[in-house]
């Protein structure tokens, strides 16, 4: 087993670690598949349907949907694999921050511009000001970030409490 796996289970033997890791891998795989279906297959289907309605408008978002799905799936799988450790909370914080950057980038800072050719020759420019929507996305993501930070603090404080409560080995005179 790779040495990094043992970092996930402090103070435990390799055999015990492997026994605990297998269900996590299974759970992470299941979550990954569910997230893949929810955040890649379903949105891609919706975008492709909308692309038929207005190809120049929605087809450019296929790649954005894919990147969004990759970010989510990576973090949900990694978070599941590291559950019960501080890394899980660190990954959740990282996900929240990366998603904020992703939303700002994907929505071009809230001002989305695109051109549509109508009847082959007539070009129509559309500028949509989505700053309020972007603000809502960031606000909700910050809520998630706050939750992850609190979870990390809670995890560390509980760990410290356990260490205080654990009886220390008696010192030899």
């Amino acid at each position: 087993m790779a040495p990094w796996c043992f970092l996930l289970f402090e103070n435990e033997s390799g055999k015990s670690s492997a026994r605990k890791l297998l269900p996590r891998i299974a759970k992470a795989a299941i979550k990954g598949i569910i997230y893949f279906a929810l955040f890649y297959i379903l949105p891609t289907f919706v975008v492709s349907q909308l692309s038929e309605f207005a190809p120049q408008l929605f087809s450019q978002y296929e790649q954005t949907v894919a990147v969004f799905a990759v970010i989510l799936i990576f973090f949900v799988v990694a978070s599941e694999l590291t559950s019960g450790t501080i890394y899980q909370h660190a990954l959740n914080i990282g996900r929240a921050l990366i998603l904020i950057i992703f939303f700002v980038y994907a929505l071009n800072g809230g001002i989305v511009k695109f051109d549509i050719d109508i009847a082959g020759s007539q070009r129509v420019s559309i500028v949509a000001d989505l700053r309020i929507f972007l603000l809502m996305l960031i606000a909700i993501d910050l809520l998630g970030l706050a939750k992850s930070v609190l979870q990390a603090v809670n995890f560390l404080s509980e760990k410290a409490d356990k260490q205080v409560l654990m009886p220390r080995p008696a010192e030899n005179p």
Binding site: R123, L130, I132, K147, L150, N154
Partner: protein, 254 residues
């Protein structure tokens, strides 16, 4: 702390669901908007072409459209602004059909009194910039713009003053012709003034003219001149119509 984390988790999930539903309904509603353009009509009002563009919008979505504003700006191919018109509709309510009539006015009088006078005599291409601004679902300001060109037909296209024909020692004849390429019927008085080499008017006359749209006006104008016809240097044409006074258009006869 656990309760606070749980509360944040619930709030986060609820807000995500609300935002997702909002985004889905906004996209769905936007697809349900059905604009229909009517047949543009051109009318004449006090010497101006009034182009009316009827527009019917069925807002079949879940959200109102606010501050719907159509602006059109017409300029010539040199970039000089001819007209700017705006039509503002405060609200296009959800589930309702709203009919809007956007009017653009092209004043010939304005063309005659500004640096656009060449449009009276030359066909041209006019640039039309159309901008639609609206606020959708009280949250998303949207601007849609497009440019296109339209042809302009000059009301006195190919204005020509022919060579002087001597009828007698004091009487001359000059053929005048032009084509009315505009949608507007041009009628009124055409005044011809003859000027000699000392810049004095030595003769003049007025004739009525009537040039319906897409017709050619052609007429020989006879003028009695004082002094020798050999001294004639130039002819000046003045147009007087119910909605336009323009002149002089100077033709050198030397």
């Amino acid at each position: 702390m656990r309760q606070a984390i749980r509360a944040l988790g619930w709030a986060n999930a609820i807000f995500w669901i609300i935002l997702l539903l909002f985004a889905i309904t906004v996209v769905y509603s936007a697809v349900q908007i059905q604009p229909r353009f009517g047949e543009p009509s051109v009318t004449n009002s006090n010497g101006a072409f009034v182009v009316s563009l009827p527009l019917s919008i069925y807002n079949g979505g879940f959200y109102d459209i606010n501050r719907f504003n159509i602006t059109t700006q017409i300029s010539d191919n040199r970039g000089s602004a001819i007209n700017r018109s705006s039509t503002l509709v405060p609200v296009l309510p959800k589930g309702e059909n709203t009919t809007i009539e956007h009017r653009m006015t092209l004043s010939i009088k304005q063309a005659a009194t500004s640096n656009l006078s060449y449009l009276l005599f030359n066909d041209s291409e006019l640039n039309v910039e159309a901008i639609v601004k609206l606020v959708y679902a009280n949250a998303f300001p949207i601007e849609i713009s497009s440019n296109f060109t339209t042809s302009w037909g000059a009301p006195f296209a190919n204005l020509t003053l022919g060579n002087i024909v001597l009828i007698s020692s004091t009487r001359v004849s000059m053929p005048v012709s032009f084509e009315n390429h505009s949608f507007l019927g041009m009628n009124g008085t055409l005044r011809l003034e003859i000027v000699d080499s000392t810049n004095n008017a030595v003769g003049g006359t007025s004739v009525a003219f009537d040039a319906p749209p897409e017709t050619r006006f052609e007429r020989s104008i006879e003028v009695t001149v004082s002094g020798s016809p050999a001294q004639i240097r130039e002819a000046r044409l003045y147009f007087e119509t119910p909605f336009l006074e323009y002149g002089p258009v100077v033709f050198s006869l030397v």
